[in-house]
């Protein structure tokens, strides 16, 4: 690695720390309904929307009403996107003349975008029409992200509520996330990206006659506007097949930096929003610190591994599946950011990373997407681990556990365990199914340990709502489209519903003043405990699977063994 490459990483991390309080403070004002930077333009729009939707913005919902609102809204979105794909061939904005999508793929894709996973079993430029990409996918990119933010805002209200039942109002949180947070940031990012060369048009494919006299049919489309929100909303579903490795999707090192930064900026800032909202900024920074340390640890291991020469190809540095304008360091930095954040967009092929770098990408997802994580989803996932840590710490000192002055009791701990177990079970059980059936095995591109990793990665990515892939696996089969689809539903609502249940039961509890026996949750000691709990839970659950895949593959590669 060169000094320049270290500088780029330092710049990335530094900017993240600087922007966290800025954006985080703004979001805290937005979700408390206070006056903010944009309210003079957006307040009238917001109020107009509430009138049209037919809700009273001050009406409060308990956790069940809030959960029903989330479920109904997502159900409507799913049905619309599913049907839209089935009939896209008959609809306008289809200059490339693409046909309808077959039902298994349409189910998988609709699930994928509604659950904020954005796993793609299809190639964008050759499967989906401009209309589907625009009013189907772009919309879900916004609203699935907004749903995640809404749920974490509801959880926070539950944690600080003073013996009430209210978690706020889902429709209000949904509208505010979209209007005040996602839309303005997307507009800025889109304009910057177009300036760098990301396409934004509704033209038919451009025919070019190449130097060797052949025809290139260059795909076009309204890509930039979709790419901006796919990065900011930790969606990750590319406009083109190879996602942000495509030169039209990510043309320059600057566009690359902007897109990488957009992956983490909202999830990181939400920790500050959290601190402000619970009335103690150190609580937010403690969570930020745990996330930041885990991110840098994983990134470091990935970089060391990637810069270790591969004996199979005679020890040259691996550029397979990487773009020259980014190089190895930026490809790995993106790989780390996109897997911790449940984003899932890629600028290099994870399948061609060194086995250990690919293994860390897997581990990042397996830990439950809590290292920054998806917008909203990362923070509520992390708060699940916080509850678990408080509980374990309570057991160790023999005191009844409490968090932010509220008692953590059996009900909350059960729900927290459920939220951790459901996605983990989906990953391991479905992977087992994938490697014992012909339908699962016949999709592999790589053999040996890497073939196992391909299957493991697919279900991990689905259940963690990440969406990146070891893309050698041909996932566009009824087997994978169905099972990964189910994994994505489990990974999304198997966490959201327990989280809202926790929010509901915490909301009804009295806040007791801190005493000498209270375990502080904003101390360095707590950060260390939290990290330990996350790693131990992840390691115990997934170490056997990781051993069979990435770890054994690294050992085989060191012996120059191929398959």
């Amino acid at each position: 690695m060169t000094t320049f490459e270290f500088l780029q990483i330092a710049l990335y991390l530094g900017l993240l720390i600087v922007c966290t309080p800025l954006l985080g403070g703004y979001m805290a004002r937005v979700f408390r309904g206070e006056r903010n930077l944009l309210s003079f333009v957006l307040r009238p729009v917001e109020n107009g929307l509430y009138r049209l939707i037919g809700i009273d913005s001050r009406a409060e919902q308990d956790w069940k009403a809030y959960a029903w609102a989330v479920i109904l809204f997502n159900a409507v979105g799913f049905v619309f996107l599913f049907v839209l794909q089935l009939i896209q061939g008959y609809l306008p904005l289809n200059p490339a003349g693409l046909g309808n999508v077959e039902p298994f793929l349409a189910f998988n894709t609709a699930t994928s975008f509604v659950t904020n996973t954005n796993w793609q079993a299809y190639a964008g430029e050759t499967t989906l029409t401009y209309l589907t990409q625009m009013i189907g996918l772009t919309v879900q990119n916004f609203v699935s992200a907004a749903t995640g933010i809404a749920v974490v805002v509801a959880l926070i209200r539950g944690l600080i509520g003073r013996a009430g039942k209210s978690l706020g109002n889902f429709w209000v949180d949904l509208v505010r996330s979209t209007l005040y947070v996602l839309l303005p940031l997307s507009i800025i990012l889109t304009i910057l990206l177009i300036g760098q060369g990301v396409v934004q048009n509704f033209n038919a494919p451009a025919a070019a006659t190449t130097l060797s006299g052949e025809t290139q049919m260059l795909p076009q489309g309204a890509a930039a506007s979709q790419i901006a929100i796919k990065q900011l909303g930790t969606n990750g579903g590319g406009f083109f097949n190879v996602n942000s490795a495509h030169p039209y999707e990510n043309p320059t090192p600057f566009s690359n930096f902007l897109q990488m930064f957009s992956i983490l900026v909202i999830p990181a800032s939400l920790t500050y929003t959290y601190g402000v909202t619970v009335g103690s900024k150190p609580q937010g920074w403690a969570i930020f610190a745990a996330m930041f340390i885990l991110f840098v640890l994983g990134l470091s291991v990935m970089l060391v591994s990637e810069y270790t020469p591969n004996p199979v190809v005679g020890g040259i540095l691996p550029m397979e599946g990487k773009e020259l304008r980014f190089g190895i360091t930026n490809s790995i930095l993106w790989g780390a950011a996109t897997t911790v954040a449940s984003n899932g967009s890629v600028s290099a092929m994870h399948s061609s990373f060194s086995p250990i770098a690919g293994g860390i990408a897997l581990l990042n997802m397996m830990l439950g997407e809590v290292i920054f994580g998806g917008v909203g989803a990362g923070l509520y996932g992390m708060l699940i681990f916080v509850i678990l840590t408080v509980f374990i710490a309570g057991l160790m000192v023999g005191r009844s556990p409490e968090y932010l002055g509220k008692k953590v009791e059996a009900g909350e701990v059960k729900m927290a365990i459920l939220a951790i177990l459901l996605p983990s079970a989906a990953i391991l059980l479905f992977t087992a199914l994938g490697v014992v059936t012909d339908a699962g095995l016949s999709s592999r591109t790589n053999m040996g340990a890497h073939g196992f990793s391909e299957v493991l990665y697919a279900f991990t990515s689905g259940a963690a709502n990440n969406g990146s892939a070891f893309a050698g696996l041909n996932a566009n089969t009824p087997f994978y489209n169905t099972l990964i689809g189910i994994a994505m539903w489990i990974g999304r609502f198997g966490v959201i519903l327990p989280v809202l249940a926790i929010a509901g039961s915490m909301a009804g509890k009295q806040i007791a003043p801190a005493s000498a026996g209270t375990f502080p949750t904003d101390s360095p000691l707590f950060v260390v405990l939290l990290i330990a709990v996350i790693l131990i839970v992840g390691a115990l659950t997934f170490f056997p699977a990781l051993s069979l895949g990435p770890i054994v593959e690294q050992l085989l590669a060191l012996n120059a063994q191929t398959f």
Partner: protein
């Protein structure tokens, strides 16, 4: 419940209009007004004909041109008029036997084409396929390796080709982001315009 369902439907329709219609249309408008070249694919037009995009790689084995990186999709070679230029990668892992063979073959072919000794190191971007299959760039080292061959095939002075190569080598953006790289299509078009 009926009230919630009605809210779900109207909220979905309204947010779809804002984020799925107004937002992309507004962005397309702004893009077309302020960045028409970039927003339309950075297409290079010569004598009224589109010869490619400054952002998209092609492929050639003509010794008079600089060569691009290997591609997993044959898209760079062009496609039929009704087939879109797709993007794609091999996704081969470190222990993939095909990848190991390809690297050996590519190295041998490059050494043969450039009269290099058997143990001459080859820049790794010429040995490995890119992520998009459409990578428009090669490393300055990969370009340097090809200068003699191109100069010879065109009957040009080495120095002339070398200075063009330097001219088309892009530094890291803003002096810090990314790495130095050569845009192969722009360089090849510049070579063509000499004669």
């Amino acid at each position: 419940m009926a009230k919630q369902l009605r809210a779900a439907l109207t909220a979905f329709i309204l947010l779809s209009l804002i984020t799925g219609v107004l937002y992309p249309l507004l962005m397309t408008g702004i893009g077309q007004v302020f960045f028409p070249y970039q927003a339309n694919g950075s297409l290079i037009v010569q004598d009224g004909q589109v010869v490619g995009s400054a952002l998209i790689g092609q492929t050639t084995d003509d010794p008079a041109y600089f060569w691009w990186r290997p591609s997993a999709v044959n898209a760079m070679q062009g496609s039929s008029a009704d087939a879109l230029t797709a993007s794609g990668a091999t996704n081969y892992g470190w222990t993939n036997a095909t990848l190991a063979d390809q690297v050996v073959e590519r190295a041998a072919a490059i050494r043969a084409a450039h009269n290099l000794p058997e143990d001459a190191p080859i820049p790794s971007d010429l040995l490995f396929a890119s992520a998009s299959g459409l990578d428009p760039h090669i490393s300055p080292e990969a370009a340097a390796l090809q200068i003699d061959r191109v100069a010879q095939a065109r009957g040009l002075e080495r120095a002339q080709v070398e200075s063009l190569t330097t001219q088309y080598t892009e530094a890291p953006q803003f002096g810090i982001l990314g790495q130095p790289r050569v845009n192969v299509l722009l360089l090849n078009l510049a070579l063509d315009s000499i004669e």
